[in-house]
Subunit: 308 residues, 2 copies
Amino acid sequence: MQFSVTVLGSNSALPTSERYPTAQILNVSERFFLIDCGEGTQMQLRKNHIRFTRINHIFISHLHGDHCFGLMGLISTLGLLGRTADLHIYGHGDLERIFQPQLDYFCREMAYKVVFHVVNTGVSEVVYEDNKVLVTSIPLKHRIPTCGYLFQERQSDNHIIKEQIDFYQIPVKSIAGIKKGADFTTESGELIPNQILTIPGPAPRSYAFCSDTKYAESIVPLIKDVDLLYHEATFLSVDEKLAAKTFHSTARQAAHIAKLANAKQLIIGHFSTRYKDLSLFEKEAATVFANTSIAKEGCEFVVPYQTK
Amino acid sequence: MQFSVTVLGSNSALPTSERYPTAQILNVSERFFLIDCGEGTQMQLRKNHIRFTRINHIFISHLHGDHCFGLMGLISTLGLLGRTADLHIYGHGDLERIFQPQLDYFCREMAYKVVFHVVNTGVSEVVYEDNKVLVTSIPLKHRIPTCGYLFQERQSDNHIIKEQIDFYQIPVKSIAGIKKGADFTTESGELIPNQILTIPGPAPRSYAFCSDTKYAESIVPLIKDVDLLYHEATFLSVDEKLAAKTFHSTARQAAHIAKLANAKQLIIGHFSTRYKDLSLFEKEAATVFANTSIAKEGCEFVVPYQTK
């Protein structure tokens, strides 16, 4: 089952010719969750061959333009492509107030509905769930109300041991229940405990998206043991004061959060345009947290199942 | 003196990974006029090394998203770059009503002012003029109020004949007046007519931008003898009915307009995403108007002075 993040935009507020403003796509078993939607997101989706029809949920961290100016273009394009299914957008309460007038003007002939869901960025709460994934908000500390999002796979079913199906002559109709944890009673009335029949399914995987924020240890308990962490690193440590002033983080601070949270892997991004050599970010973070990667447009980070 | 058009976006409503929605930049002696501003325009400006500070005037043809969804990102970026000079945007009266609320929300800390100028798209009238250029609206026939723009260079000063300066001992203080057409009186009182002292400056150059529109011969007198014409060609003739239905043009129709207007060169663009091979557009148009080029991202069309 797929669980991977593709970076669509890695830059901070000022895009360059190659580095786009923030947007990422999380693929959970071919359900695509779009996280932030900077200008040019729809072109980046095309470049990365991501099927637009697979996107049903968009999570917006905060209402700075570099995280949401691609919304109108994407929404409009989905309409032109003949979409009929509702599109759900999660974010600060102002999102609907600010975008609905443009939707009413530019997208009045659209055959689908945009449903806005208000996220209280000040608390950690479940903002979306289905049978595959649970999405929880992560309050961040930025200049305006901002939250990240934690995506957690649901615990998958137990794996049934094939040999036991034959041995106990388990009928097909009982298998689904056993996978969910039920015991099995044979025709002769013998109770076979579930743990004899199954092995646990793989541990659920998780991804935490944390941007934009200043260094905030308050998020650590919310992302404890996360498999993959994206944490913004707008600045290098040499500009730590500027980072604090603008409510952003340095590469080293992002790495500290990853270390404290016992994350397995860290992606850093949202780089300030002032830096040309992004390898400096990777080097700085790696001094604190070795398994750090740089967010680059088109990079896909696949989260493997953890071996126990 | 530079007079050239660079294509920033060549596509119609649905952008692809390579083809952006409509935007062009006209360079008149290093004054940059932005025409339409589809999503991604600011990235395309960067790619083409166009200095943002040189853009003071933006002309919007109509309020379909593929012609204006890049405005918010560009305006916001200009603010982050520390702009203080007013930015002037020309377009339909709804432009301000639709964008001002987002400006108030996203750009409230900006140190410069966005000044909206209402263009009556139903009549041809001067919408901007300075000492180098005159911009006139061109009413077009689209599904919503739409106009193109005609950019005309001002007639430049006469060129003074260097040998005559020496011969008549013309003082420096008289030269500017002579270039503007004044005669010269020598110290002995002899009147030297201007035409003996000068040769006319080069003929002013012109560029007409006509998108989006169905085939409309009504625009021909407004763009008569234009040096460079951009005319939309969303469809090929095989889809002429679709073009008529959607108030767009075919490549052949665009070429007919160029021919009727006695244009010197034609650029066609705003191609529907349904076509993969754009050379078909060029071929179709060239059967009617030979000097036709395809709009492609990054192409620059330099308008030379005409030899007399």
